[in-house]
């Protein structure tokens, strides 16, 4: 666990060096890697290409490099559309969701990793099993609930639902993380006379920051990409999230592809930056739940 999260390549350097000297990498490996990369980014590249073409060029210029390079689409999307508002809404909702999820789940995860108490197995089972409930299956009841509680069409209802859906995953990831921290640290803290709660908050939580970061990013991406909740719980345009906003572009009469792809590019930039910066952490966090070491 620790290894995976801190520096996720357990293969000792010795092997790498030996392999590199002893055996040349098969050129076929590179060919396949390039092909796979192309498959991965081709649709994105085509979107980027289109976003720099003028409205008429999107329908005539089928080249990958725009013949007439223009920033007009970006100007329209950034200054004359609702997309920046939607992105702001999404940042707000995703940020608050991450914060609330971590605050709620970190305590549960700590208790699950460190304490023994009657009913623990059952409560943990209950929490983790809710991740088996498909979101689509409870959309209608949630809609009723939101309407009856007066929460329909608010940021709060989205945040509450996202938090509840992220809790099982995040508890699971953080529990594994806490288990990788040696018990002796708590014992030392307790000997010094600190309470359980203080030991947890002041000694252990700071050590878990890499795990918390991974969990935070994964929850953030989840909210950023969700469509179902954002589409069913929100009706007013000024509270709309970006995924729904983009879809509305598409369903409108006559799609303006140049603007739409510019909006798509703008909407994926924040998340791509986070991904490139945090790729190792994210990979480690996602695999923590599923590997056997």
């Amino acid at each position: 666990m620790t290894e995976l999260v801190a520096g996720p390549l357990p293969t000792p350097t010795r092997h790498k060096v030996r392999r590199r000297r002893g055996r040349r990498t098969n050129p076929l490996t590179y060919v396949l890697l390039v092909l796979a990369s192309l498959f991965a980014i081709l649709p994105i590249l085509w979107g980027i290409s289109t976003s720099f073409k003028s409205e008429s060029a999107t329908l005539s210029d089928q080249g990958w490099i725009p013949a007439d390079f223009t920033l007009e689409n970006y100007r329209l999307v950034l200054f004359e559309s609702q997309i920046p508002l939607y992105i702001g809404n999404t940042l707000l909702v995703a940020g608050l969701t991450v914060l609330a999820t971590i605050v709620v789940a970190i305590f549960g995860a700590y208790a699950a990793a460190r304490f023994r108490f009657r009913g623990k197995t059952t409560s943990l089972f209950l929490i983790l099993m809710t991740s088996m409930i498909p979101g689509i299956a409870i959309l209608v009841p949630l809609y009723f609930l939101a309407v009856n509680l007066g929460l329909y069409d608010t940021y709060a209802v989205m945040i509450i639902i996202y938090v509840a859906w992220q809790i099982p995953t995040v508890i699971w990831m953080l529990k594994g993380f806490f288990e990788s921290i040696p018990d002796s640290i708590e014992e030392a803290g307790r000997v010094d006379g600190a309470s359980h709660f203080r030991v947890m908050v002041q000694l252990i939580f700071p050590l878990a920051v890499p795990g918390i970061a991974a969990a935070a990013v994964i929850s953030f991406v989840y909210v950023w990409n969700d469509f179902l909740i954002a589409a069913t719980m929100i009706s007013s345009d000024e509270k709309r999230l970006v995924s729904v906003g983009l879809y509305n572009y598409l369903s409108q009469y006559g799609i303006v592809w140049g603007q739409l792809t510019a909006a798509v590019v703008i909407s994926i930039i924040p998340i791509v930056i986070v991904f490139v910066l945090m790729e190792r952490r994210i990979v480690a966090g996602l695999s923590a739940g599923a590997t056997k070491g």
Binding site: E3, A36, Y110, R114, P134, V163, A290
Partner: protein, 318 residues
């Protein structure tokens, strides 16, 4: 490295790591100084999580089950009608076609996604120059939302203006979204595109835990790359592959957003899956009872797959 961190193990072995002399539970409640597990604090820490999942997940699923057993007209819940909705889903030609399509979609996607992820993971596990770059490129679709994926692919395969020149091919004009078979094929391809990064990440993590010595030993024994993979790597990855297969199965089975935004179920209902029917019955046709029944069917399949998965993991461990 911590052992066994996969969801299957938690259910029976959630207890904290063995702590030296554990005081009997009865004492733990009374004594203040020596106790290692403060019961009040433990519950205080867990209860917020339980409360929120109970309100947002458990209560609604019970509500949905109840709703699925009643007649509904728009928002009004009417008479108890037994299993009429379920009978419709399992016996009507429409319902059966949806179930069949869901299986075609899930199995078709799995058959491509799992070997692809396994292959990509082993490529990315090799010490090649620029590995970090390739990793970021190949895992990139993970950050693309289903809505955006649908938009980008729709534009890429557009027969008139798309990049692939599908308007004039040796086979004539190819319009993926107008042909029932091609629409399903495209749906599967895009589905694989958004989901293989996660599977690749899991496979990669598992590959990295296999000691290089094992493969080298097999090589010394004269095993070629293919035999090494089949006889050393694959058996060691089996537990991970189960996890991947189940996670993907659940993801695919419950998929609504991608289907809704890419094909909308068409053309001619060719991509109208169970999951999409659940969404459309509830939110487009306002047949809430029938929509809830579809949801419960999905939920039941989820439980079934999940139980199969826990079982497989357990038998694997023994």
């Amino acid at each position: 490295m911590a052992t066994a961190v996969h969801p299957g193990t938690d259910i029976r072995s959630v207890d904290a790591p063995p702590e030296p002399p554990t005081p009997p539970r009865r004492n733990a409640k009374r004594s203040g100084v020596g106790d290692r597990s403060p019961v009040g604090l433990s519950w205080g820490l867990v209860i917020p999580s339980i409360a929120i999942v109970a309100i947002v997940s458990i209560f609604p699923i019970i509500y949905a089950i109840n709703l699925s057993l009643h007649d509904t007209t728009y928002m009004e819940v009417g008479e108890f009608n037994g299993f009429a909705h379920f009978a419709y889903i399992f016996t009507s030609p429409e319902g059966q076609a949806q179930i069949l399509r869901s299986f075609v979609y899930v199995i078709g996607s799995l058959v491509i996604a799992i070997p692809l992820s396994l292959g990509l993971a082993s490529l990315l596990n090799q010490a090649v120059r620029g590995r970090a770059f390739f990793r970021v490129m190949i895992l990139m679709p993970w950050v693309v939302s289903q809505t955006v994926a649908a938009l980008l692919w729709k534009w890429l395969v557009n027969p008139d203006y798309g990049a692939l020149g599908l308007g004039e091919t040796p086979f004539g004009r190819i319009d993926f979204l107008a042909n029932p078979v091609l629409a399903m094929l495209l749906l599967i391809i895009v589905n694989v595109w958004i989901s293989y990064p996660l599977a690749t990440i899991l496979c990669l993590a598992s590959l990295q835990t296999i000691p290089e010595e094992l493969r080298e030993a097999a090589e010394v024994d004269g095993a070629g790359p293919f035999r090494r993979f089949m006889q050393v790597t694959l058996p060691l990855m089996k537990p991970t592959l189960f996890v991947v297969a189940i996670q993907l199965t659940l993801l695919y089975f419950n998929m609504v957003t991608l289907v809704y935004t890419l094909t909308g179920g068409g053309p001619l209902d060719a991509t109208n899956l169970l999951s999409l029917a659940a969404f459309k019955q509830s939110f487009e046709f306002f047949n809430l009872g029938l929509g809830a029944a579809y949801s419960v069917v999905l939920f039941a399949f989820n439980i079934l797959f999940g139980a199969a998965y826990i079982r497989l993991l357990r038998s694997e461990k023994q």
